[in-house]
Point group: C2
Chain length 154, copies 2
DNA sequence: CCGAGACTTTACTTCTACGTCAAGGTTATG
DNA sequence: CATAACCTTGACGTAGAAGTAAAGTCTCGG
């Protein structure tokens, strides 16, 4: 096989490399989170490295931000737009349309950034609380040990 | 009614104050996330202020960290332990047992802190990436506007 | 050209975290 | 003591995010 040009991956490999199941990959495709990949003549899906990256991204959005797949879809579509704009940045056609797209992309990212910032902040707060709690525990432990030293277990 | 001594709350009030439904409160109880509250003679649940706090805590763990209720239960049980230790800190009985409990609590909190720290860090990373992305978008927008100024829309 | 293993779609199932009645008991108040 | 407002348990339903099984198709190495 020509494993040189672009190194396409079958679903099994993508699954292995991303840590999700094949079912999940098909599911994401079905839900519009992954663009339908190209196919071999026989119908086998052929993914690109970009797809692998995207899956990783999706998972991070899920795990870190706890977004639903519907919400993630929105985010992913903004990425999509970015890619498109990047690609066809030369053809100077229809600038006002590009402006519109760009404006929307900025809106989406701004909202997302808001979410992330807020969560990040709350997270830090929580972290400090837990550190404080841990210090308390450890102080108690020290005290307990001192008591034990004075009056050892029978 | 004696609304003086401890100000117990019925499930409706707790629901209102915590922003979750009554169903959710019963559900959390069922799942062991909330200790079964005391009851009136007729069977109505009577919650304490502590319960309200705990529900808020549970919700934060859900929203911020995206933990499952099963995972949250573990965390909440550590809190429980903390409360217990705090309460019966005077009776000097069975110090080695207390030590054991304390040690376990420290372990749990340490693990939790690990999770939170990691997530917080990843969150910051993500935030920076998004800020970077946003700057890129805005730079492009500026460029587009300059182009438009030179060659206005027909 | 053939068989093992990878892949396809379709369909049904599971799990979590509740929502939504239903039918009836309790409490506070006029 | 009536009655509205509140609560009880129980049972069934649902949305999101996949898991699993079935039955058939494709690919590739030998």
């Amino acid at each position: 096989m020509s494993e040189s040009t672009e190194a396409y991956l079958q679903i099994g490999e993508v699954a292995e490399r991303t840590g999700v199941t094949q079912r999940t990959l098909r599911f994401y495709e079905e839900k519009g989170l992954l663009r339908p990949p190209s196919r071999m003549d026989g119908g086998f899906r052929l993914y690109s490295e970009d797809d692998v990256t995207r899956v990783a991204h999706i998972r991070r959005l899920q795990n870190l931000l706890g977004l639903t797949l519907a919400e993630i879809k929105e985010m992913v579509e903004a990425e999509e737009m970015l890619q498109e704009l990047k690609a066809q940045y030369r053809p100077e056609a229809d600038i006002s349309e590009k402006r519109r797209q760009l404006q929307e992309a900025i809106g989406v990212v701004t909202r997302q950034l808001g979410i992330v910032s807020q969560k990040a902040e709350q997270m830090s707060e929580m972290k400090e609380q837990m550190e404080e709690r841990l210090r308390t525990f450890e102080r108690w432990m020290t005290e307990l040990e001192q008591i034990e030293r004075k009056a050892p277990v029978a």
